[in-house]
């Protein structure tokens, strides 16, 4: 039984871009029987988008009001039940996948491979440890179900337009506990490009000095059509909301062009950008570690340099 199951991430209307990347990782395994499961209150719109991805065999829809919000306690029993018929179960290594999939893996009685960055063969994978300071090979014993999250920054998106995969409704039948309830979700707003997927990202650090100072980053990003990110220091200081954090415990991204502005370059931040195409660093400290990884560096006052760059655009 060599079959792959991917659990889709979505917001109820749109399939998250992380799913196409997870599919790319799944295709690298070399098994061409790949199903995508969509758990939702009304899965149809999302299922339609998943069915258009290239390389998908079937889309399974599981409709229930319990799936209106992504609660691990509600989802994991059903994922474990479905997963019993598959050799591989994957989710994106977003906060959603990190929350839900270990719970499902434990219910299936298997260990899990977190943050797969490369598929070697159907049982072995590469993943980073120690904030990316080491890369290891993980081999899952033959015959054991592979359960893993796929690192977004390491895979391109699978294409669209591979034809329409059949969509099949599956009746959810696992017992779901009622000890966990969704209350609300607050988003920091901002209608710029998505940090996780934007080809251009401008991040600000502690040197921005304040929320007011951080506005310079927003303006510069808007001019470039870039998403806004931040270092942990800037988030801890309250300049920007938590979802903008780039790094080991925040978002791991791989834009074509990355601006690190007023960021010294702690190893935990560098982990989040090591797959970026071109890194530009702007910092007043010429000794800042960010310059060791940057392709281009400018040493000086960011509040003078950013307007100067803008004037040349």
């Amino acid at each position: 039984m060599s079959r792959i199951l991917i659990i889709a991430e979505h917001d109820g209307k749109n399939l998250d871009p992380s799913v196409a990347k997870t599919l790319k990782g799944a295709l690298d395994v070399g098994i061409d029987d790949i199903d995508i499961a969509v758990f939702a209150e009304s899965p149809d719109p999302v299922a339609g988008q998943a069915a258009r991805l290239e390389g998908v065999s079937r889309v399974l829809t599981l409709a229930d009001e319990d799936f209106a919000h992504p609660l691990a306690a509600k989802l994991a029993p059903e994922i474990a039940r479905l997963g019993a018929d598959y050799s591989h179960v994957f989710m994106p290594s977003t906060m959603y996948g990190k929350d839900v999939l270990p719970r499902a893996a434990a219910l299936m009685g298997v260990n899990m491979v977190s943050e797969i960055q490369e598929v070697i063969d159907k049982n072995s994978f590469r993943r980073p440890i120690y904030a990316g300071n080491a890369i290891v090979k993980v081999t899952v014993p033959e015959g054991e179900t592979v359960v893993g999250t796929i690192r977004q920054a390491s895979f391109s998106a699978a294409g669209e337009g591979g034809g329409e995969a059949p969509i099949e409704a599956v009746e959810p039948s696992a017992d779901r506990p009622d000890h966990t309830r969704f209350v609300n979700v607050e988003t920091g707003g901002g209608d710029g490009p998505d940090l996780a997927t934007s080809p251009r990202v401008v991040s600000g650090g502690r040197a921005m000095g304040s929320s007011e100072g951080f506005k310079v980053i927003y303006q510069f990003a808007e001019k470039l059509g870039a998403a806004v990110g931040a270092s942990r220091a800037a988030v801890d200081a309250g300049y920007v909301p938590n979802e903008l954090q780039v790094g080991q415990t925040g978002k791991i991204i791989a834009p074509e062009l990355y601006f690190a502005v007023g960021i010294s370059g702690a190893i935990q931040h560098l982990t989040g950008i090591k797959d970026a195409g071109t890194i530009v660093a702007i910092n007043k400290d010429a000794e800042a570690p960010i310059f060791e990884v940057a392709d281009y560096g400018l040493v000086g006052d960011l509040f003078e340099i950013l307007p100067e760059i803008e004037s040349h655009l």
Binding site: A106, Y130, V185, N242, Y296
Partner: protein
């Protein structure tokens, strides 16, 4: 209510980890070891809950060789009441860790099990979720705010979209994110006092669990190095370079 907090012994946050030249692991000889920073945050939160009067006892637990007792002593010095050391040769993989913790949970019957969201050595981010699954209880992961009332926890979580709040019935598993709190510093008299606090050693076979290696971890490699770049003189020069590369 009792709170059980896990403390993993890991290479200190500030150490630049290096891969051994034969690819068998990372250098840990003579390297500073500490409590996993996320676990320290979990312990701090547990202590604050106790200090508010919402819990009576905080128990810290660690799994590993004898040297994990150093981290347990630090946890006791921070304010935990007693410690449990489950003896294994090395830190087990997450599913085994979760099975061991479940045995401790059955013995101790805590209202909350608090873990760090991930350990900064293997970066797995799995054990809390796995324990919650095996225990068949709620999980509230990546917590940045915890409020308790009437046998329930209202937990604000750091998720991709922003901050999500969920409500869970206790007992439950909680895992801490960075911004939950700032752990206290340990004072010298507390370190002395901690030496007299109880620390129980539990053999693995006493729990009826085998520490089997499941996933095989091998071929440690340093990450590919990014080629060093160049320092430019002016903003104009930068814009030219980026345009030449087709990036602007």
């Amino acid at each position: 209510m009792k709170i059980l907090v896990t403390l993993k012994r890991v290479v200190d946050y500030n150490v630049r980890v290096r891969v051994k030249s034969d690819g068998s692991g990372v250098e840990t000889d003579g390297v500073k070891m500490s409590i996993n920073p996320f676990d320290e945050i979990a312990l701090e939160e547990a202590l604050r809950i106790k200090e508010r009067g919402d819990a009576e006892e905080v128990v810290v637990a660690s799994i590993g060789a004898a040297d994990v007792q150093q981290q347990l002593r630090t946890g006791l010095a921070m304010g935990a009441d007693r410690a449990l050391h489950v003896e294994t040769e090395s830190a087990p993989q997450p599913l085994t860790a979760a099975r061991i913790l479940l045995k401790l949970v059955e013995r101790e019957e805590p209202g909350i099990v608090f873990l760090g969201k991930q350990a900064i050595d293997d970066d797995c981010n799995q054990t809390g979720q796995m324990l919650a699954a095996l225990w068949d209880r709620p999980q509230a992961t990546f917590a940045s705010k915890v409020e308790l009332s009437d046998g329930k926890a209202s937990v604000t979580r750091e998720v991709d979209a922003g901050l999500e709040t969920i409500q869970v019935d206790l007992p439950a598993v909680l895992t801490s994110d960075l911004r939950l709190n700032e752990p206290r510093f340990v004072k010298l008299p507390e370190i002395m006092k901690a030496k007299r606090k109880p620390l129980d050693i539990i053999a693995l076979d006493e729990l009826g669990i085998e520490d089997a290696v499941d996933h095989q971890i091998s071929d440690f490699q340093p990450p590919p190095k990014r080629a060093g770049g160049k320092i430019l003189e002016s903003a104009g020069e930068l814009v030219d370079e980026l345009k030449n590369k087709g990036l602007l």
